[in-house]
Amino acid sequence: MQDRSLARLLQTPAVVLLLIWMLVPLGMTLFFSFIRYVLTSLRRPEWTTPSLDNWRGLGNYQFVWNNDGFWLAIYNSVLMVGSILVLTVVLGLAIAVLINRAFPGRGIVRVLLISPFFVMPAVNAVLWINMILDPVLGLQGLAVAGMNEMIDGLRTFPLLGGFFSLWPDLEPISFRATQTSAYAVIMMVTWQWTPFAVLIFMTSLQSEDQQQKEAAILDGANAWSRFRNLTLPHLGRPIAIVIMIQAIFHLSLYAEIEIVSRGNGNKNLPYLIGEFASNNIGAASATGIYAVILANIIAIFLLRMVGKTLMD
């Protein structure tokens, strides 16, 4: 007993510190979300100081709920996080399995594969949107222009020319546009985070039991069946880790969205919070609480899904 209470006592500072660290911001956000609190207001100067007198109840939540941008932001958050998760896990698995076998230059290939992860998000976004996705100067623009030129050449061909004249000219896609900016963000974040998935899956693949695979070969299992029945269950936990960590990170995407389109057509919850926070702290806090709720829903949903499909 003595020992245990001493241990508790010694732990207390750390625990208290952690609690303060977590609870104070959450408490303040909750408090702000229930009051009227703006940074500047000429008409109602009393709202510029946070105080219980400005109590608004669920008013901020209602205001955000009815805001046009809110549902689009939730939709965008889910779309981006979901797509990035699926893409990074699938690509990560494929690449990890491919480079797990021995081949000359494996060390260098591995280092190169990991390197996108060390690029800063903002730099990543600038590189992608200007050098790769730009419809005129980027790789995309050059590729589309090149193909158009080739088709143009084919049209002058004696016999088959008529057939190629039926082909339309290809149009480069503008990834800063309202309809496409989310896809640009998905692409660049996938490129950056696939190495993370590869890294985690690769370490796990190396601990896979080779004799189990040989037993499966003797049992007549083909490569796909071995992957499905042995490798995938073996990777269940790393996949869950990759999904959880990425879900946490990508719910708060900001830099890429800002750089690609300044939120045009592609606001997510953090971006919306940012916009509100330029003046309306109450609404921003309410959105923050919504984001916490969304994160929890997604986390529970993911945990269930990952647990069900992979652990049985």
Partner: protein, 343 residues
């Protein structure tokens, strides 16, 4: 059921030759044990038969067909691995059913086979557990069960008992012997434990450095080892080797005749105490290992050769008093010192 033939089989990893050139005939239903020291190529040979290792030269035939190019699953072999290699995310039932499912066998037939095998091995109550929730011995049985359900023509075992404790090892050894009796299939069993080899085998294949040293029944190997390596590898404690100069004046004339170029091999269990004047050897002893039913007495001859005698009653005299030991001449093995071959 099938016989198995190895013709001139060789294996090389790059330029390192691991298996030289092996010829071996295994008849239908035989229990063959590969023994040999670590690294001699036992596992490699077994894995070549299974199809897990490419064959660098020669032919492996099962029945009448050369299987060099046949896929492992199509060879009609099943293997029990040293680490069991059970599928960790499947239940015991699914572990056993996996191979049959891959072969697209109907569900009811799979069920019948799995339950039969579970009956034979006494693992019926464990079918719904995962391997993690089994003891070592139970895992071992499941691994054997996974081999049985496929009704293979040849069973391959790679040191299946080495992860079990001593008591369980003896018990499982008996069960494997019983299983062989019951199924009558051809079995090939790899071990470096010569007791397992002696007790289980119809035929023992002694390997060293990728070559066969001798093939024969356990008693043939014990009674007529073809060379010094087999002589010392089979039998425990290992066979004692003496020189001409170790023999006493009173040794039987057949033994006195042998020349300096001959190694005289005598198993410790064939040495017995005798009175002065009848002895083949005289020696002093340093140490007695009392095993209850008999004692292992560590001795040195006057010529300085160390050896072990297995005696029913340990010597009562002091350490510096000479021990007189005799052996009957037909239990002596003579080997050429140069070649190591039996004379």
């Amino acid at each position: 059921m099938a016989s198995l033939t190895l013709r001139d089989v060789a294996k090389a990893y790059g330029s390192t030759r691991v298996i030289e050139s092996i010829d071996l005939d295994i008849t239908d239903g035989e229990f063959v044990v590969f023994v040999g020291p670590s690294g001699c190529g036992k596992s490699t040979l077994l894995r070549m038969i299974a199809g897990l290792e490419e064959i660098s030269g020669g032919d492996v035939s099962i029945g009448d067909t050369v299987v060099n190019e046949v896929a492992p699953a199509k060879r009609g072999v099943a293997m029990v691995f040293q680490t069991y290699a059970l599928y960790p995310h499947m239940t015991v039932y699914n572990n056993m059913a996996f191979g049959l499912k891959q072969a697209k066998m109907p569900k009811d037939q799979i069920d019948k086979r799995v339950r039969e095998a579970a009956d034979i091995l006494d693992i019926g109550p464990l079918l719904d557990r995962t391997p993690r929730a089994l003891s070592g011995g139970q895992r071992q049985r499941v691994a054997i069960g996974r081999a049985i359900v496929r009704e293979p023509e040849v069973f391959l075992f790679d040191e299946p008992l080495s992860n079990l404790d001593a008591a369980l090892r003896v018990q499982t050894r008996l069960e494997i012997a019983r299983l062989h009796e019951r199924l009558g299939s051809t079995m090939i069993y790899v071990t470096h434990d010569q007791v397992e080899a002696m007790t289980l085998a119809d035929k023992i294949v002694v390997l060293r450095g990728g070559d066969i040293e001798q093939v024969g029944s356990p008693m043939e190997l014990y009674e007529r080892p073809q060379n010094t390596f087999v002589a010392q590898f089979i039998g425990s404690p290992k066979m004692n080797f003496f020189n001409h100069s170790d023999l006493a004046q009173t040794a039987p004339p057949e033994l006195r005749q042998v020349d300096e170029d001959t190694i005289i091999g005598i198993r410790s269990e064939h040495l017995s105490l005798c009175s002065a004047g009848e002895e083949t050897l005289s020696a002093t002893y340093e140490l007695v290992e009392q095993l209850g039913e008999h004692a292992l007495v560590h001795c040195t001859t006057s010529g300085g050769t160390e050896f072990i005698a297995k005696l029913d009653v340990p010597p009562q005299s002091g350490r510096d008093v000479p021990l007189y030991l005799r052996v009957s001449p037909d239990q002596v093995h003579l080997f050429n010192r140069e070649t190591g071959l039996r004379k």
